[in-house]
């Protein structure tokens, strides 16, 4: 009997990620095991999408160090492994944030992803909910070492609802997987190869099917954005609420997030979980149809359930929480009864702002000496008004 039990595969594998041990089901990837722990232990994922079969392994931002392969074979793996596509073994020891090699490689990946990125966040609709922004904040550097012209592509129109910005694309392939897996026929794909590879429809064909809008939801960057929401608002100014409607389309789950400003529906997306992925309901992924997404833009089309819970640390989370803690003590109280005031009236020390000298009277380009020479410097607080002007 005892022998028989030994032969059976263990029900759970023990895996240690950044010194935190967890039991996971056999066949789980390192990334999903780390997601079960949560927090900083979770490697970032730009191309992996748990709801899309075959995705992952491409962006290399989820690389981790495997310090010990398993209990049976405790040798470390020679290369950094893509955690989204490596399944755990019993007794595996993984280093993510605790490995310098991983941090170094990840910084490299972020740099590679950004060298040809236009960095047009100020005019990008994805800004605020962009995974590349998050990755850049966490692992990027302030300046670039890339001194060449950034890559550009010819603009392509892929239909009335979706805007394609190829320059922002990081080639995660998610949109091709979604077209393969939830729509009947894929009409777009990757053309060319290497650094000139691009998402395209080959002969400028519109992507036209009921579920094409989900491409926008899975896109980690601003390469695919909603044309009906284009330049309408910044995502952090809109208020997300959960809502549902009885959709006629049998494949559509009818559960969505409405992004409101006042009573106006600016945008409709599917509901996302904490990893930025579309939520599942009873094992069914909550994709929504294009009618719900692009055409139902009135509040009376929907039954609103309530505010969407989103991470309060996200950009979108800013100013969204009524329960946001405000300091009880005023500054006056903190300063023991003193009123707050500027530490220095800059007009008193800056000669340039001295109004007794008229620039028009200087017959060449003005220099510091012109101001220093004059004895009109006004000193002392009592002598001047708030603006540094002499008292009449």
């Amino acid at each position: 009997m005892a022998d028989e039990i030994k032969k059976e595969a263990p029900v759970a594998f023990k895996v240690t990620i950044d010194n935190i041990t967890i039991d996971v089901a056999p066949g789980t990837t390192i990334l999903n095991a780390a997601r079960q722990i949560g927090g900083d232990v979770t490697p970032p994922a730009m191309c992996y999408y748990s709801k899309l079969e075959g995705s992952g392994g491409k962006c290399r931002s989820c690389l981790v160090e495997v310090a010990a392969g398993s209990t049976a074979d405790s040798r470390p793996m020679p290369k950094l492994m893509a955690s989204c596509r490596t399944t755990v073994m019993d007794g595996m020891i993984v280093k993510n944030m605790t490995s310098e090699k991983v941090i170094d490689a990840r910084n490299g990946v972020v740099e590679f992803l950004l060298i040809n990125h236009p960095l047009d966040c100020p005019i990008c609709d994805q800004a605020g909910e962009c995974h590349l922004q998050d990755l850049g904040y966490k692992h990027g550097v302030e300046s670039t070492r890339y001194e060449f012209k950034r890559r550009t592509f010819e603009k392509e129109d892929i239909g009335p609802f979706i805007q394609l910005h190829m320059t922002r694309c990081i080639l995660c392939y998610r949109c091709t997987y979604i077209a393969d897996q939830i729509t009947d026929k894929r009409v777009h794909g990757i053309l060319d190869r290497g650094d000139h590879a691009e998402i395209s429809t080959y002969i400028s064909k519109a992507i036209d099917n009921d579920f094409s809008g989900n491409m926008i939801d899975v896109c980690p960057v601003g390469a695919l954005t909603d044309k009906t929401f284009r330049f309408k608002n910044r995502v952090w100014f809109t208020k997300p609420v959960d809502a549902h409607r009885n959709c006629e389309n049998p494949k559509c789950c009818g559960k969505a997030t409405l992004w409101l400003r006042g009573d106006e529906v600016y945008r409709v997306t599917s509901r996302k979980d904490e990893w930025g992925e579309v939520q599942s309901y009873n094992g069914q992924v909550g994709w929504i149809c294009n009618t719900c997404r692009f055409e139902k833009k009135k509040t009376n089309d929907w039954t609103i359930e309530g505010l969407t819970t989103i991470s309060r640390h996200s950009v979108i989370g800013a100013n969204k929480y009524a329960t946001l803690e405000m300091p009880i003590d005023t500054i006056k109280k903190v300063l023991h009864g003193r009123d707050p005031k500027l530490l220095m009236n800059i007009h008193n020390v800056s000669g340039v702002n001295n109004p007794n000298i008229h620039l028009s009277e200087i017959d060449r380009s003005s220099q510091m000496e012109d101001f220093v020479k004059s004895n009109d410097f006004i000193k002392g607080e009592g002598e001047s008004t708030q603006w540094g002007l002499p008292k009449e």
Binding site: G56, G57, K58, C59, R60, S61, L63, K79, L80, A82, R85, D104, A105, G108, V109, E111, F112, L113, I115, N116, R145, Y146, F148, I170, L171, Y173, G189, I190, D192, R193, G194, D195, H196, A197
Partner: protein
């Protein structure tokens, strides 16, 4: 005169045709192997110590052992004839001159692996070789060595030639499989390995042309006999395609006991440097392996003579050694500029990157741009360090070995020829018209005395 197993009969008049090939002793191995048990054939290959000739040098017998033998699931043998590595042209020579040796080896290997349908994935540029191979397949079929019930043993085998469309990346085995299936040639993420899930999800073995051709003599003479040729773990013979500034560029069969010096200077092989120039550097195994300066090429860091085999060429790791690779022996003389040469390679890898994973897609293009600047004297000294940092971040972090292949030549060039790079930066005018020359690259290396 070294032992010749593959090219022995290559220049017999009419060897391309079945009649002459058969008269010269061809297809004996098929007759012999099909009488043996399949495990016995695999055992012979294991005994021979044959290592993959495509570049990685993985033991072939071991690879064959890994193939999953699930009942009822067909298995496949795929021959990788997508020889696209710059400097490598050995398979082309073999297929062009004696195509039947490949077909013969494939029948034996297919039998050993249990593959009833085998493929030759050939690069599209070898258009005329496709005709030669198809002719050979038709002749073999006509004479009962292919098709149903071969030689009355009940073993069926068909061979199809599949033409690639000119992508270097399709020489990587999983990209080759994708391409063979009719998809975009993107490398797959391993695991699963092809031995478990290959062509159409079936167990597949992908072998190089030369590896499969070597099977013929292993079966004919026995694995033990084959293992006697060569040194240590480098058994058998290896085809080297030599090119560059030498007197006799071409394909040579070597038995891996000769020294690099002999290979370059003896009349039997390369015939010395052309025009009396001096040897400056060499890439011993196809464009993706590290380049070595003349002094490190001829002697190892320990001061021993470097031999033409897997172990000796990789002696000293990447710090002072290189790799056997696919056998593309590229020789540079004192007139060649290493910077320009590295730029050319970087341009190649940028163009051939599939664009699937970010470090390779973005990094190869970045390296090419910096190298072009250095070559044209428009760079800063810090660019050399930047280049080093970029290659370091590509290497090992990509899905397939193309990322490593793009990083290694750049790394080796900076490691061994850094002063030539610096000369380019410091002499922006001179580097456009003149050359850094041989410099100290052929000087005897300082060997630390071991106490």
């Amino acid at each position: 005169m070294g032992v010749k197993l593959l090219l022995e009969k290559a220049h017999v008049v009419g060897i391309r045709t079945y009649e002459v090939y058969r008269r010269e002793g061809g297809y004996r191995s098929v007759e012999k192997a099909l009488k043996m048990a399949t495990t016995y054939v695999v055992e012979e290959v294991k005994k021979s110590g044959l290592r993959g000739r495509g570049g990685a040098g993985f033991p072939t017998g071991l690879k064959w052992n890994f193939i999953a033998k699930t009942e009822g699931v067909p298995r496949h043998l795929v021959v990788n004839a997508d020889e696209s590595e710059p400097g490598t042209f050995k398979d082309r020579y073999l297929m062009e001159f004696i195509p039947h040796i490949l077909i013969e080896g494939m029948i034996v290997s297919s039998y050993a692996l249990g593959s009833n349908v085998s493929y030759i994935y050939i690069r599209g540029e070898y258009a005329w070789i496709v005709d030669i191979l198809e002719q050979a397949i038709a002749e073999a079929k006509l004479n009962g060595f292919l098709g149903k019930n071969i030689l009355g043993t009940g073993f069926d085998c068909e061979i199809y030639v599949h033409r690639g469309a000119g992508a270097y990346i399709c020489g990587e085995e999983t990209a080759l499989i994708e391409s063979l299936e009719g998809k975009r040639g993107n490398p797959r993420i391993k695991p699963p390995f092809p031995a478990v899930k290959g062509v159409w999800g079936r167990p597949t073995v992908v072998n190089n042309v030369e590896t499969i051709a070597a099977i013929v003599s292993i079966i004919n003479n026995g694995g033990d006999e084959y293992a006697k040729i060569g040194i240590g773990k480098s058994t058998g013979t290896k085809l080297m395609s030599a090119c560059g500034n030498i007197n006799k560029p071409g394909v040579y069969e070597i038995d891996m006991t000769i020294s690099v010096e002999e290979f370059i200077y003896s009349d039997e092989y390369c015939g010395g440097m052309a025009n009396g120039k001096k040897l400056k550097a060499c890439i011993p195994g196809g464009s993706s392996v590290p380049i070595l300066p003349a002094n490190l090429l001829l002697t190892t860091a320990k001061g021993e003579k470097r031999l033409m085999n897997y172990e000796s060429l990789s002696d000293g790791g990447f710090t002072t050694g290189s790799m056997m690779g696919s056998g593309g022996f590229i020789i540079l003389n004192e007139d060649q500029c290493v910077v320009k040469h590295t730029y050319t390679l970087a341009r190649f890898y940028r163009h051939e990157s599939c664009g699937q994973c970010s470090p390779c897609r973005e990094g190869t293009g970045w390296m090419e741009k910096i190298l072009l600047n250095i070559e044209n004297g428009k760079a800063k000294l810090s660019d050399i360090d930047l280049l080093w940092d970029i290659q370091r971040k590509i290497e090992g972090n990509t899905i397939c070995p193309l990322g490593d292949a793009a990083a290694w030549p750049v790394a080796a060039a900076i490691r061994h020829f850094r002063d030539e790079f610096e000369w380019h930066v410091k002499n922006p005018e001179a580097c456009l018209t003149s050359n850094y020359g041989l410099a100290h690259y052929a000087d005897p290396i300082h060997i630390p005395v071991l106490t």
